[in-house]
Symmetry: C2
DNA sequence: GTCTATAATCCGATAGAC
DNA sequence: GTCTATCGGATTATAGAC
């Protein structure tokens, strides 16, 4: 039944990993599957529906990678494993990582389908949970878990994006160390106490 | 002379801003300029050479936007203005911002031409300078200016990328506030002193 | 459910006249 | 320096036989 559809999806993931978005075509996909192009339209209405499923698959693989961190035995261990898992997934599967953030119009769609939205929310909840339990255990400062998770996520995503774009002049081996160092810098803070006192005064005057 | 070439480049920027990379073609570009497609090849050897110039133009506009921050009268004022300038440029010109980080193969090239590399280095130097003078003035903690600039840049770029991808559930008006808050959180640090002491011990044991 | 054949477009780039 | 005409290729998607 949808056995063939699964086979098509698997080939579509492989094809995307090899060729990226640009080189992805229904003809090539058909070639990978071992059928002709029109046969694909028995299982998928259009090319974009195939790509939506590819992105959904990327979400699931990312999630499976991250959820291993739940095996950690303390909140700190879990959030660390999650952070490193995020890094290794992105570095080992850069194309899958990139596709998670692909703008919908890049694949000929107006907006992201609701299917992908909910998968995204699940990941957001995961990070929020990791931060919350670290606050409760006294490792992270008190604050809104969602906002803190956003700051940490922004840093991680930005650093990984810069690395994948080739803007950082570091090798793949060096990057893991750079990542850890930068996370630590963010955890410790960048400004001096004197400057922090100054902007705190400023903020309270508003 | 290159009067016509300038006109082509201006139209190419407009066309890219409207259509993005996907909808960009030499035929459409010719239509914007008001000539036929073959005429373009008198001024540009290929489509990719046009796109390289578009990216170069984006760099120059970004740089011009950032360099206004040099009018600030203190190191802190300058780095703040630069940080907010980075934000406003990205939000007001999202396509130009995105193209700065476009992977070369997305426009059919193997690697970024050296012309763009050097423009990139200039921006890197600008940020390094901003951080260094803030360290010297006692606003930022001591450390390698380049590494600190990277952490700050990663955070800013990541947050902006998430916003532009629509992954943050905030409006454009809200985003400036979210950005400032997140920067402040990064400046102050996220972890508790107790946890920081713990990982410092750990690091020294290696 | 898969095939052959094909419609209907779009693309980058070139040849040669003017 | 621009034009017309065209080459050679790609693409999505459909029609109809089997």
């Amino acid at each position: 039944m949808s056995d063939q559809r699964d086979k098509i999806l698997a080939c579509a993931c492989d094809l995307y990993l090899e060729s990226g978005f640009e080189g992805f075509s229904m003809r090539k996909l058909a070639g990978c599957v071992g059928v002709t192009a029109p046969a694909l339209y028995r299982h998928y209405a259009s090319k974009e529906r195939v790509l939506v499923d590819v992105i959904g698959e990327a979400y699931q693989r990312m999630a499976a990678h991250l959820y291993r961190a739940l095996e950690g035995r303390t909140p700190v261990e879990r959030i660390r494993m999650a952070g490193m898992g995020y890094l290794t997934f992105a570095v080992e599967h850069p194309r899958l990582y990139e596709v998670l953030f692909a703008s919908p119009d890049l694949m000929g769609m107006q907006e992201a389908p609701q299917e992908l939205e909910s998968q995204w929310c699940a990941l957001g909840q995961f990070w929020k949970d990791r931060v919350r339990e670290c606050i409760d255990s006294g490792a992270l400062r008190d604050g809104e878990p969602e906002a803190i998770a956003m700051t940490m996520w922004a840093h991680a995503h930005g650093l990984i994006s810069l690395y994948l774009s080739g803007m950082l002049r570091v090798s793949r081996e060096e990057f893991a160390g750079v990542y850890r160092t930068s996370v630590r810098r963010m955890l410790a803070g960048i400004a001096t106490p004197a400057y922090l006192a100054e902007i705190e005064t400023e903020a309270s005057h508003r």
